[in-house]
Amino acid sequence: MDAEAIRLTTPLTDEDVSRLRMGDRVLLDGILYGARDAAHKRLVELIEKGGKLPFDLAGQVIYYVGPTPPKPGQVIGSAGPTTATRMDKYAPVLMAKGLKGTIGKGGPRSKEMREAMMVYRSIYFLTTGGASALIARHFRRSEVVAYADLGPEALFRFEVEDFPAIVVNDIYGGDLFEEGIRRYAR
C-alpha cells in the first residue's frame, strides 16, 4: 500500500489539507507537537485569558501522545496515540488559532468537533493505537517545550519522518468511521 501514501510536510497549508480525503494514507515529515488532556487544558485556559502560547499554532499538527520514558540511547520511548475524543472539548479553540491537524486514535469525534474541522479546515488523522514501538521508529527528535511538571502529559515538540497515518475526517465532512461501518457491517 506504500505506493499510494501521500507525503506531507508540516506545518500544513490550506492547500495541503484541501487535497486530503477520508481514507487517504499519509506519511508525515516535519514538526509535530505532542499534547494530552492536561496540556490541552492549560493551552485553552491561556488562550481564554489572552496569554501568549508557548508556540505558534498556525499550520501545526498536534499528536495526542504521552510516551513512555526513553531507554538510554533512544530518541523517545514507545509513542502511540491516545484517545482523541477526550480532546474534543479543547481542540476547536486551538483550531480557531490555526491548528491544521490532530493525530490520535479512536472516535468518532464529537459533532461539534466534526463541524469545527470543516469550519477551520483541519484534519483528524488516525495512527494505529498500540503500535507504539513501531511508531517510535519514526521520531528523529523529541523535546519538552513546556509544562514539564506534567511528566508524560507535558507539551512536546517532535521531529518525525515518514510518520504513518490515515485521514479519518477531511475538511468536507467525510468520516471514515461512518463510512467503514457502512461498508463492512453485515
Binding site: 501522545v65 491516545t82 486514535k105 479512536g106 472516535g107 493505537g129 507504539s132 514501538a133 490515515i166 461498508r183
Partner: protein
C-alpha cells in the same frame, strides 16, 4: 505450612510487569495472524500488519508494546496453607510494581486521588485481588490494563426476564458505543451473574483466560461466546474502528449464581495489547 518471603513476591511482580509490557503472548500474536488472513478491508489489513510488526519490535528491542503501560492489576491466588513472611503482601506487591515500572522504563499512569489527579510517580498503587484456595499454591497474575479500553467497559443490572437476549443486546451496545476508542481488535470479557461487584470482577477474570479464544467448559456458555464473537465481528467496526471484519479476537464469558430478582452483566474490554503474565512461586 509453606512460607513465602515478601522479597520473592516483589521480585516476581517486578519481572512480570516488565515482561507483560514487552512480550505479547504467542496466543495473541497467533490470533492477530489469523485475523489478517480473514480481513478484507485494506486499511484493516494494514493495521493488523502493523500490530504484528509492533509485537516483533517490542520483543526484539525489549520496549513497551504500547505507551499506555496501564494500571497494574495483580491477582494473587493464595493457598490457605501458605504463610507470607518478611512484611506485608500488599506492600510487597506495590514495591514490585514500583521497581518494575522504573527498571522497565514503563510509563507512570496513576494519579493518587481520582478527583485531585496528581501522578503518584511510580505507577502504584496496584489494583490487587486475592483469592484464597486450598493447599499451598501461590500464583501471581500481573496485568497491565490500558485505560482506552477500560474506559469503554460497562455494567448493567438486567432484569431476569431480559434473559440471554438481554445479555447479547447489552454486550453489543457496549461494543458499538466503544467504536474505535478501545483500539480494536479487542478482547471481550463478560461477567454474568453474582452481585454488582462480582459481575465486574468476573468480567476481568474472563479476560485472563488462556489460551486466548478457548471456550468455557459449559456448552451453553461456549456457544454464547461463539455467537457473540460472530455478531461483534459482523458489526463492521473493524481494526481501530475504521471498518472491517476484525473487531474482536475473542469473547470470554464467566458466570456465577445470582439472586432470583437479578441478572447483572459486566463487559470488560481489553485491547489487542492484551498484556498479562503469570507465575507460580
Amino acid at each position: 505450612m509453606r512460607e513465602i518471603h515478601c522479597d520473592q513476591i516483589t521480585a516476581a511482580v517486578a519481572k512480570l510487569c516488565v515482561e507483560a509490557n514487552y512480550f505479547l503472548g504467542a496466543d495473541v500474536v497467533q490470533a492477530l495472524e489469523g485475523a489478517l488472513k480473514r480481513e478484507n478491508s485494506p486499511v484493516g489489513r494494514e493495521i493488523l500488519k502493523q500490530l504484528i510488526e509492533n509485537a516483533d519490535i517490542a520483543r526484539a528491542e525489549q520496549v513497551p508494546l504500547c505507551q499506555d503501560t496501564g494500571f497494574t492489576v495483580v491477582l494473587v491466588e493464595l493457598g490457605q496453607d501458605v504463610r507470607i513472611v518478611g512484611g506485608s503482601l500488599v506492600d510487597a506487591i506495590n514495591e514490585g510494581v514500583r521497581q518494575g515500572y522504573q527498571e522497565g522504563f514503563l510509563r507512570y499512569s496513576i494519579v493518587g486521588d481520582p478527583l485531585l489527579r496528581k501522578n503518584t510517580g511510580d505507577n502504584t498503587p496496584a489494583c490487587i485481588h486475592v483469592e484464597v484456595l486450598p493447599g499451598e499454591v501461590f500464583k501471581l497474575t500481573v496485568m497491565a490494563k490500558g485505560a482506552g479500553c477500560e474506559n469503554m467497559s460497562a455494567l448493567k443490572m438486567l432484569k431476569p426476564s431480559d434473559g440471554i437476549e438481554g445479555v447479547k443486546g447489552f454486550v453489543m451496545k457496549v461494543i458499538k458505543e466503544g467504536g474505535g476508542n478501545p483500539c480494536p481488535p479487542i478482547i471481550v470479557g463478560v461477567g454474568i451473574g453474582g452481585t454488582f461487584e462480582l459481575a465486574a470482577y468476573l468480567s476481568k477474570k474472563a479476560l485472563l483466560r488462556r489460551p486466548l479464544g478457548s471456550h468455557h467448559p459449559e456448552p451453553t456458555v461456549a456457544s454464547l461466546e461463539e455467537e457473540l464473537l460472530r455478531a461483534i465481528n459482523e458489526s463492521g467496526l473493524g481494526p481501530m474502528g475504521l471498518g472491517g471484519r476484525t473487531t474482536a479476537l475473542a469473547v470470554h464469558l464467566e458466570t456465577y449464581s445470582c439472586h432470583i430478582a437479578s441478572l447483572p452483566v459486566a463487559v470488560n474490554i481489553d485491547c489487542h495489547s492484551h498484556r498479562f503474565k503469570q507465575i507460580w512461586l
